[in-house]
Symmetry: C2
Subunit: 129 residues, 2 copies
């Protein structure tokens, strides 16, 4: 458990990244882009959604730094920029130990609680879940 209690990365960056990832359409777009560059039309094709809606999603992804856009004639090919995903993963990594040990911890905690309940006068105790 090596949590700092503070966020190392720019909070706004994490806000934008996690918010961008909270939409299934945008996650699907990122998944598609991991296979290589794609134009807006190509990205829009799988979805039953208007083209401007996709453009909006792309703008969200761009503002989060998750994609960059080039220019080829009329097309604006999009490319994945994975750096913010690394930052997000770094944040989540702080909890890795926790969920890996969570069963151990749960056992320990239940043990403690039971001992407390056995030794204390205070009756009703933490019925978590």
């Amino acid at each position: 458990m090596k949590l700092t209690g503070y966020e190392l990365a720019d909070p706004h960056q994490l806000d934008a990244t996690f918010a961008a990832l909270a939409d299934p359409t945008r996650r699907a777009i990122l998944t598609r882009l991991a296979a290589g560059e794609a134009t807006v039309r190509e990205l829009a094709a799988p979805f039953s959604m208007s083209q401007p809606a996709i453009s909006k999603h792309l703008k969200v992804l761009e503002r989060a730094g998750l994609i960059s856009r080039g220019r080829q004639a009329q097309r604006r090919p999009c490319r994945l920029r994975a750096e913010p995903l690394r930052v997000a993963t770094d944040w989540l990594a702080n909890y890795r130990d926790f969920w890996e040990e969570s069963y151990q911890r749960l056992d320990q905690l239940l043990g403690e609680v039971q001992r407390q309940q056995a030794a204390e006068i205070e009756r009703p105790g933490g019925n978590h879940e």
Copy 2:
């Protein structure tokens, strides 16, 4: 690059998890909870925000499965449930190879660009970023 093109986990689960993580207050609450159980009052203390606002945040976290709540007298101690964080991390892990190679890729690209610029006079094309 071992992307499937499909999401392995329940999309709604990822929606809820990432949406929950998109708020700095909620991330701070999770960070606090990683240090151990805490009551609503304790969780609210660091923030200049009303108690109902914190309760709302906790409800969001609970619906995302990121916390569970017990009961001790009037108190409802909250406990971190890290499983959804593992799921989110698993999703992000699909991109790990991509961002790890990105520096290599960037170096390659910069090398190419520099060589082109050295050999060329001017040619507008693919100005990503």
